[in-house]
């Protein structure tokens, strides 16, 4: 009993140190090359004219993500496997080639023509989209409309 309790506490403590944020020691130029191939291709394809300002390898606990700052100020975050996680176009339009067709259609059908997507983020429950009119819309991973979020 006593040993088990101690073991449990030690395990919890260990977990605590594992989740320690780790950014220090990042080398910006080396990080660029550590970006997964498909992420690099993703950037080339959807942001052909943009250059990388810096890349942060973010080891937050058990999850590793790559945060890319483009020289235009846009921020793109990738999963470890290279897939995009979040695109923040900083009030400019997120390239339509990235946005799932269903969402694109929903936006087009429900808003004025001058409304566009400025930010898109994958969540565990689906996809969250921020529009240029400050409205936040939530969809399922399949792009089905869920709700408006104020």
């Amino acid at each position: 009993m006593r040993q088990q309790v101690i073991a449990l506490i030690l395990a919890l403590g260990l977990l605590g140190t594992l989740t320690h944020y780790s950014v220090a020691g990042n080398n910006m130029s080396k990080n660029e090359s550590r970006l997964p191939k498909n992420s690099q291709e993703f950037l080339k394809k959807h942001f052909p004219s943009e250059k990388i300002s810096y890349v942060i390898v973010d080891k937050d606990g058990l999850q590793t993500t790559f945060e890319v700052m483009l020289t235009s100020g846009k921020e793109i975050e990738f999963y470890k496997n290279g897939e995009w996680k979040e695109i923040d176009a900083k009030k400019t339009a997120v390239p339509q080639t990235i946005i799932p067709a269903n969402i694109l259609k929903h936006v087009k059908d429900n808003f004025d023509n001058d409304v566009y997507v400025v930010q898109i983020e994958k969540k565990f429950w689906g996809i969250e989209v921020e529009l240029s009119n400050k409205l936040e819309v939530e969809y399922t991973s399949g792009g089905k409309f869920l709700r408006y979020d104020n």
Partner: protein, 422 residues
């Protein structure tokens, strides 16, 4: 060490260790979290500053901008390629406040559209962070003390309650006197083991009481049944001695036999007396002045043992008077005095001290006797295996004292002391 105390100490040390471990881990985690919070903010600030910088480079980079929150400077490509991010704590002089303030610094790099590398240093005051850490530590210590205190008191209460039946049983067991009716054991408990213990103790008490009664009866019956055969043998020997037909050698043999038989008779009488006392056959009580009884008996006793030339001294502060059976009073005093005289060496002194509440008979002796054994049947201390001792005298004295509501105790203080106390 008492069971409760032992358990308490063991549990408490475990709790204390666990609390300390938990407190330390909690503190480390909280520290970590707070540090992360600061670093996260710096990281976030970097994003904002760099974004603004990339949008409006000329505004931010007018001659190596140094603001309160950040500093940006151009660095060569070589430096940029080898640049490593770092966080560190430092103190920075703040002119307005005219003092040094603790700061967290994040040193990083980025490049702009043209491929120019920049180094960026971001600052964040850690006064708040340090305050938060202090607060956490403060509340952690308070929580630690309070929790420990509550656990301490709670554990004590629970343990006390849990073991209460055990202590009650122990008290009861102590109150049980062999041969006496045992008091009722009212020891209700929900704990199965204690229930069993209660039952076992009560059963054992009943069995031991039964065995005690049987033994008492047996001794009584046996000594009773022996009286007549002893009487016949003694008297026949007496007749034989008086027949006048025996020669000297035969007479000597007869004398020895006679005396041995006398001893058996005395022993038997003592046993009978003991069983009579234990069966409480001496019910009539009257006021007995034991100090006077001692004075009366002492002279006879000293006469008989006159060859030992023992001196006796009676110091009377006040007479020791007690309600008890008269025959037993005489037997009690006789046995105590005889014990003192027989175990005294020649020319020694016996002191009798009489107070209102106690009566002490002391005789000289070299070593203390075994307090546990002297009052048990047939115990003879060391070299006192004399012919005249039946080994029952003190046992009888003790029984009489007990029956008469007195306590008889032995203690040694350079002398052997037997003390009767009310």
């Amino acid at each position: 060490m008492k069971l409760i105390r032992y358990t308490y100490i063991r549990l408490f040390s475990l709790m204390f260790m666990l609390f300390i471990l938990w407190g330390a881990l909690f503190y480390i985690s909280m520290m970590d979290e707070v540090m992360d919070e600061t670093d996260d903010r710096l990281l976030n600030n970097k994003g904002l500053v760099v974004h603004r910088m990339l949008q409006q480079p000329e505004r931010l980079l007018t001659a190596d901008t140094l603001s309160d929150n950040y500093r940006i400077s151009r660095i060569s490509e070589q430096e940029g390629l080898n640049h490593r991010d770092s966080f560190y704590d430092t103190k920075i002089y703040i002119q307005i406040e005219n003092e040094y303030e603790p700061m967290r610094v994040y040193k990083s790099s980025f490049k702009d559209n043209s491929g120019q590398f920049y180094e960026i240093e971001l600052y964040l005051s850690t006064i708040e962070r340090d305050n938060v850490i202090e607060d956490i530590l403060f509340y952690l210590i308070i929580l630690f003390v309070v929790m420990l205190g509550i656990t301490l008191v709670g554990m004590r209460l629970v343990l006390k309650r849990t073991f209460r039946p055990l202590y009650k049983l122990l008290d009861w067991l102590n109150s049980v006197i062999p041969g006496r009716e045992a008091p009722e054991l009212n020891n209700e408990t929900e704990i199965a083991e204690f229930k069993k213990l209660n039952d076992a103790a009560v059963n054992m008490q009943k069995r031991s009481r039964k065995a005690y009664e049987e033994q008492k009866d047996f001794i009584g019956n046996a000594s009773h049944e022996l009286q007549t055969p002893l009487a016949i043998s003694l008297n026949k020997l007496d007749m034989l001695a008086n027949s006048g037909e025996l020669n000297e050698e035969q007479m000597n043999l007869l004398s020895q036999t006679f005396e041995t038989l006398q001893r058996a008779t005395r022993l038997n009488k003592s046993l009978l007396l003991l069983s009579q006392i234990q069966n409480e056959q001496f019910v009539q009580v009257s006021e007995q002045n034991l100090t006077q009884t001692i004075q009366r008996v002492l002279n006879d006793m000293l006469e008989v043992y006159s060859d030992k030339n023992i001196m006796a001294k009676i110091e009377t502060e006040s007479d020791f008077i007690h309600q008890m059976n008269d025959s037993l009073a005489v037997v009690l005093i006789n046995n105590l005095l005889k014990n003192a005289i027989v175990h005294s060496s020649s020319n020694s002194l016996i002191t009798i001290t009489s107070h209102e509440k106690s009566l002490t008979i002391s005789n000289e002796g070299q070593t203390a006797l075994d307090n546990e054994k002297i009052f048990t049947r047939f115990y003879r201390a060391g070299n006192s295996k004399t012919k005249e001792s039946t080994g029952l005298g003190l046992t009888i004295a003790k029984e009489i004292a007990q029956l008469s509501g007195l306590s008889l105790e032995y203690f040694y203080d350079g002398k052997h002391n037997f003390r009767l106390k009310k």
